[in-house]
Symmetry: C2
Subunit: 192 residues, 2 copies
């Protein structure tokens, strides 16, 4: 197969991300979000919020990480963040990502694997910021929908604050804004 045809096969295979259902609904919609449209949303959100990053970041690398970051879910499925950070989930996602990369010409995969692993480790300014942005839409979805996903999944306010306060690692300005909105949700009884 010609290299360009291998890439086109990959482009077809990754369409499966459009069928991976997440745990929150886009604002205003009754259906659950899928991981492909979420990926677009976080890439654009990262671009829009880049000036609020704590450290100097390379937004182009951040966007590439976020374009790729959920591909492992095609084989592993989506797991709510509050229970996704186990070695088992991480291993499944990595295996799924590797299976996909095998479809591509070999000389193209190293860059993608490096970006994927950097995101997963979350230790560099770019990946710390990318991970912060990845947390934003689910919070907004809940805030605009009476905490529906928090309720459906029995997520307490302690869990919400504990897990999401790490947004401040990527952007203090962003976390300050979201924290105010979350405090209001607690006041209103939306988040308990």
């Amino acid at each position: 197969m010609e290299p360009v045809d291998q890439v086109l096969s990959f482009i077809v295979e990754i369409e499966k991300l459009k069928d991976i259902q997440r745990k929150t609904r886009p604002v205003g919609l009754e259906r659950y979000e899928n991981s492909a449209e979420h990926s677009w949303h976080v890439c654009l959100s990262a671009l829009l919020l880049k000036d609020y990053a704590n450290e100097d970041i390379n937004i182009d690398r951040v966007i590439k990480m976020l374009l790729l970051h959920d591909l492992g879910e095609i084989d592993a499925g989506d797991t709510i963040i509050y229970s996704s950070e186990t070695q088992e989930v991480k291993d499944k996602e990595l295996a799924g990502f590797k299976r996909l990369l095998d479809i591509l010409p070999k000389d193209k995969t190293q860059e993608y694997m490096s970006l994927w692993q950097e995101f997963e480790l979350g230790e560099t300014p770019d990946s710390i910021y990318a991970k912060s942005i990845d947390r934003v839409p689910p919070i907004l979805h809940n805030l605009y929908d009476c905490g529906r996903s928090w309720k459906e999944n029995n997520i307490s306010k302690e869990k919400v604050f504990n897990l999401n306060s790490r947004i401040a690692n990527g952007s203090k300005v962003l976390w300050d804004s979201l924290k105010k909105k979350l405090d209001k949700a607690v006041e209103n009884g939306v988040l308990k």
Copy 2:
């Protein structure tokens, strides 16, 4: 309102792109594609295919264009490419994009408007390549689904070849590969 809160409002508003229905179905799915997941798909496709661009391109600018390129559809809706290139459609999309930008802090909008207009004009190497990539998924959707959207919308093989041959402006290698697949679809009676 704080600038960061204006950006968060924008991030919520653009979720509406997840509810804009396109005219083809993702490979393997019975439902129509939406413009948000399509946007992710073309951004990643552009990255994957960048080495096949005819000219030197800045892939980071291309990806930014493609992240933004369909936002005008939130107000204007999606129109099949074969009838979308009218001034009326273009005006509606531009008005829709401007309405969205009004939500953002003023100092952030110029970069996005420039990228949008560059894509729309399609005269630079980056935008010519971006427009080529934007054409790829609908072709693949049809090829993998017995030409379903072509049939549903009465699109002849002459129209398909006329409109899509411009992919060669961005990438000759890519068009050569797709043309072979389209020729086979004609041979098989999938494209008439």
